[in-house]
């Protein structure tokens, strides 16, 4: 069973020529339609995040400023990120969609959720929009879950490092953040030496990958570097920042994944969930519409036990050595942190 969020009209959040555009959601929905799920497709109620839910991860002052900025007509927040008159409302629905989807999973105690919203969220910091992101959608849901006593694994396979999510949970012992991403690339954070704050040492895990890396390297990174940490952490929920801009056709980066690789990643994420109904994906990046449609369909199909896979998994690219080095750097950072703990307690 696949749970998706209720339809929100996001057409009011767009900027002519900007790659983060409403057509992306259309492509994702086309990918879901390709699976012909019938009654196995469940729609969670539309839900707008409350201020109390947002202030678990964002500063109240930032929320007020964003609200006011949009009310006055919006504009460019930085060279990448825009907001319109309607963005505040749309972003709150995007931030609330995950909460609604998780509630639906809980009621049914089964299935996988895919939160198909925009704008994306994983770059949004506590007090700042950036990288096309206004509110950190996955963080809002993760914080709601931890407030209820859950232990949350966040896997971020977007091609860009999720600096906002990392920063928000830097010192949270109930969240394990795992990211694979191209390096170097925006936003410039995400080194293996970033391991978490004093109360969550080791609960940030970054595996940077070089341009040209293929799916086998990403799988190696998850298998060798992340799986032991995830198993030790023991998540009760798994959330995925599911960007699809690591696809070889995506214009925003240089990784060489195929839709078949995303199917493999989906299978791995599914395996980390402790039981059915404890896995939710959140749309982040992905800007080539055909690649997005095929990758979404392949990912969800693999999680639902289907065989839809328009492209084979890729292999043979560089990065194996970088994964090895990342593990070594992380071990060193953890060792140094134990020796001089106060030096590590900083948000990067």
């Amino acid at each position: 069973m696949l749970v998706i969020n209720g339809p929100t009209d996001d057409s009011g959040h767009q900027d002519p020529g900007h790659p983060e555009r409403p057509d992306r959601v259309t492509a994702v929905m086309a990918g879901i339609a390709d699976l012909h799920l019938g009654s196995d497709l469940v729609v969670a109620p539309e839900y707008s995040a409350t201020r109390a839910e947002l202030t678990r991860v964002h500063e109240g002052g930032y929320l007020d400023e964003l609200d006011m900025f949009c009310y006055e007509g919006g504009g460019d927040l930085d060279e990448d990120t825009y907001a319109t008159y309607k963005s505040w409302s749309i972003a709150r629905f995007a931030a609330g969609a995950g909460i609604s989807a998780v509630d639906t999973l809980r009621q049914r105690n089964d299935g996988v959720a895919f939160v198909v919203t925009r704008p994306p969220g994983h770059h949004a910091l506590r007090d700042r929009a950036m990288g096309f992101c206004l509110l950190n959608n996955i963080a809002v849901t993760a914080a709601k879950l931890t407030s209820e006593g859950e232990r949350v694994l966040i896997i971020d396979w977007d091609v860009h490092h999720g600096n906002g999510t990392q920063s928000i949970f830097w010192n949270d012992p109930n969240v394990l953040y795992v990211s694979t991403h191209q390096w170097p690339l925006f936003p410039g954070s995400g080194t293996p030496r970033e391991i978490g704050g004093l109360d969550a040492m080791g609960l940030t895990l970054n595996i940077p990958l070089p341009p040209g890396a293929t799916g086998d390297v990403v799988r190696q990174a998850i298998d060798e570097a992340a799986t032991p940490v995830i198993e030790k952490f023991g998540p009760t929920w798994v959330l995925v920042s599911a960007g699809f801009d690591a696809h070889r056709d995506d214009p925003m980066a240089d990784l060489k994944l195929t839709s078949g690789d995303f199917a493999e990643l989906g299978r791995m994420a599914f395996g980390f969930a402790p039981r059915p109904g404890r896995l939710a994906l959140f749309l982040e990046g992905g800007y080539d519409l055909a690649a997005l449609q095929g990758s979404v369909a392949a990912t969800l199909s693999s999680m639902l036990g289907g065989e839809y896979q328009p492209e084979s998994p890729s292999s043979g690219g560089p990065g194996s050595e970088m994964v090895f080095r990342a593990r070594a750097e992380r071990v060193l950072a953890l060792r140094q942190a134990e020796e001089v703990p106060t030096d590590q307690d900083r948000v990067i």
């Binding site: 790659p19 002052g61 930032y62 400023e65 964003l66 900025f69 504009g75 460019d76 927040l77 930085d78 060279e79 990448d80 007090d127 700042r128 929009a129 950036m130 990288g131 096309f132 860009h160 600096n163 170097p184 690339l185 925006f186 936003p187 410039g188 954070s189 214009p251 925003m252 990067i348």
Partner: protein, 140 residues
């Protein structure tokens, strides 16, 4: 007080950032320090980064020539990220800056808002001193 060995200047090519560069050159001349012009490459700019870098190098060359500051003590550092994050990292290796200088508003920024204001965000979060050069120092 720690000596100012390296001054990092936020540089996006705007008039305000050029004013910040000129101020940094004057300061560096007085305290005998190096100047690193720091440019942040965002998600959208990446596609034309070579063109942008060439333009920035030319602007840096012109600004340095106009100021009379020693070319050998000026570097251009281009890094991935948003301007605030990139400048907050300037205190770390490889730049190890002792001071950050920025114009009061970068490209596309809005007056009076903390939201989207690199200078205000830096003032709030930086662990090294930040100098904000007012707009009236820009040559328009």
């Amino acid at each position: 007080m720690k000596p100012l060995r390296t001054i990092a200047v936020g540089f996006d090519g705007s008039d305000d950032s050029k004013a910040a560069v000129r101020w940094a050159f004057e300061m560096a001349s007085q305290v005998d320090s190096d100047v690193v012009l720091v440019h942040a490459v965002g998600l959208l700019e990446r596609a034309r980064i070579e063109e942008v870098t060439a333009e920035l190098r030319e602007t840096v060359r012109r600004l340095t020539g106009e100021s009379g500051f020693d070319h050998a003590r000026v570097r251009l550092h281009v890094a991935n990220g948003d301007p605030c994050s990139v400048l907050l990292r300037a205190k770390d290796a490889p730049l190890e800056a002792d001071l950050i200088v920025v114009g009061s508003r970068g490209q596309g920024e809005h007056a009076g808002l903390l939201l989207g204001s690199t200078s205000l965000q830096l003032a709030e979060h930086s662990s090294i001193p930040v100098v904000v050069v007012p707009s009236q120092h820009a040559d328009g």
